[in-house]
C-alpha cells in the first residue's frame, strides 16, 4: 500500500510532529513498506484463529474502590513549565 506524502503530513499534524520535506519522503517510503508487509501477513487465512486482544494471558485485573493518597499539590505542579496558583498554565487552546 502506498502512503502518500500528503498522508504523512496529515498524520504528522495529528501527532503534532514537525517534519522536514526530506523526512516526509523518507517516511512515506518506510511506512509504505511496513504496510506492504502487513498485506503479506493478511494473505494468511486466520478465519479459525481467535484474535489476540492482549499479549499477556490475563483477564479481569481489578482493584477495590478504596482511596489512597496521591501527590501533594506542590509535587504535582513541580514539573509544570508554568503555573498560576495551584493550576497548570498552558498556551490558550480555545478553538473557534
Amino acid at each position: 500500500m502506498k502512503i502518500s506524502t500528503e498522508m504523512v503530513e496529515h498524520v504528522a499534524w495529528l501527532a503534532r510532529l514537525a517534519i522536514t520535506g526530506e523526512e516526509k519522503e523518507q517516511l512515506s517510503a518506510q511506512l509504505s513498506r511496513i504496510l506492504d508487509h502487513m498485506d503479506k501477513l493478511n494473505e494468511l487465512d486466520t478465519t479459525e484463529v481467535e484474535p489476540t486482544f492482549h499479549v499477556l494471558d490475563l483477564r479481569n485485573v481489578l482493584r477495590k474502590d478504596e482511596a489512597r493518597p496521591g501527590l501533594t499539590v506542590e509535587a504535582a505542579l513541580d514539573n509544570a513549565p508554568e503555573r498560576e496558583g495551584n493550576l497548570f498554565k498552558v498556551p490558550k487552546i480555545v478553538e473557534g
Binding site: V61, R68, V73, F88, K89, V90
Partner: protein
Amino acid sequence: MEYETVIGLEVHVELKTRTKVFCSCPTTFGAKPNTQVCPVCLGLPGVLPVLNEKAVEFTIQAALALNCQIAGFSKFDRKNYFYPDMPKDYQISQYDLPLAAGGHIDINLSGENKRIRIKRLHLEEDTGKLLHSDDLAAAASSLVDFNRAGVPLIEIVSEPDIRSPEEARLYLNKLKGIIEYTGVSDVKMQEGSLRCDANVSLRPKGAKEFGTRTEIKNMNSFRAVQRGLEYEVERQKKVLESGGKVLQETRHWDETRGITVSLRSKEEAHDYRYFPEPDLAPLVISREWVQEIRHLLPELPAAKKARLIEVYRLPEYDAEVLTSSKALGDFFDATVASYPEAKTVSNWMMGELMKYLNARNLEIGEIPLTPGLLADLLRLIDQGTISGKIAKTIFEEMCSTGQPPEKIVQEKGLVQISDEGAIARVVEEVIAGNQQSVADYRAGKEKALTFLVGQVMKVTRGKANPEAVNRILREKLQS
C-alpha cells in the same frame, strides 16, 4: 419542502465511585484544584492503570437499567487527541467492544409511548477541567485542574430515533431519572455529572437516507438542550431552503447569544487513531456476575409507576410525574406510609409542591420539607384545625422554613374558627353592614350569598370554617 428532524444523543454520566477509574485518587466534587491527582492520572511516564471494580459494576448496573445487553468480553482502547485536558494525550475509552449495547428507553409523548433505542454504552475516563479568565478573547493562556481527569464516565449513545428537540428533552429527562434510581451517579447537569451532546440532521419528509449532521456541544441544562436543538433545526432548515449544503462539523451552543457557532471541521478532529490499550487486561464478564449485579438494582421508575397505579389507584399521569425522579417517588412513599390517603398526597405533591419547586427552580432534596411535615399538615386539615386554603399558606412556609405546621398555625394565629358563636357574631355584623346584598339574596339572587360569605371570610382573615359560615349565613338570612 417539509423536513423531518433526526436527532441522536450522546450522554455522559460520571459514576459515583469513591475513587477514579484507573487509579486510587478520591473523586470528591469541588475539591481544591490539583489536590486529587497522582502519577497515573497526571500521565507521568512509567505508570500503569488498574481498573476499578466498582466502576465496572456501576456501568453494568446502569446498562441493565437501560435494558442493554451486557458483553461477555470487553476491552479498552486509546483515543488519541491533543488537548491539554488530557495529560496523557489520549483518553482511555472503549471502541469496538463496549461493555454494553442494544438497550432502549420509553418516553411518553403526549400520552403515546415511544421507544428510543440505545446503540451502545461504554466506560471511559473523564478529562481534566480547563479554566479561563472571564474575558475569553483576551486571555493568552488556559489553566488546568486535573482533579476530574480519570473520574469514571459512561457514555450512552442513542440510535437516531429522536424526531424533535422536545423528544430529546424527554429522553434525557427519562435517562436522568433511571440513572438516578440506580444510584450510580448524581446525574446533576449543573455540576457536570450529566452532560449531553447531540447529532442533528434534517431530511426531506419520507426520505430513507439521513442528511448531513452537525454535532452540538456545550448544552449545559435541560432548557439549553431543547433551545440549542430548536435553534440548530431552524438553522439547517434555512441553509437547505436557500439551496445550500449543511457542513459536517461540531458546533458550540452559545447560551447567552442563543445560537450555535462552528467549532472545527469534524473529519479532522475525529481522526482519533484508536488502538487497544496495552496497559489494561481485557474483561470477561460472566453471566453469574451480571446476575449478581442485577440483584443489586433497586425498583426502577417503570416498575414503581406500575405499582403506584396498581396499589394506590393513582391516575397514570400522577404516577408518571411522581416517579420521574427518585427523590420525588421516595417522598411520596414515605408520606403515604404515615398518611394513607394516596390521592390527597399526590394532589398536594403535583400541585402545591411542584408549583413551589418550579417557581424557585429547586429540587425536592434542596428544601427542608419532609414527608412527616406534609402528613402532619394533611391531618390538621382533616381535624378541621385549619382550612384547605390556609393550609396552602402553611405549606409554603413549611417549604421554606421546615417548621412543623402546628407551630406555624400557632405563631401566625391561623387556627380555623369553628366556634359557632364567634362565627354567628361576625355573620350578624356582615348582615347589618350589607343590607343591599341581603335584599338581593332574599329576592332570589344566589350570587349575593357568595359575596356575603366572602365578607365573613374577610373579617376573619380566612380563618372561619367555610362550611359553618355557609350554614349559619343561610339560617340567619332565612329567619
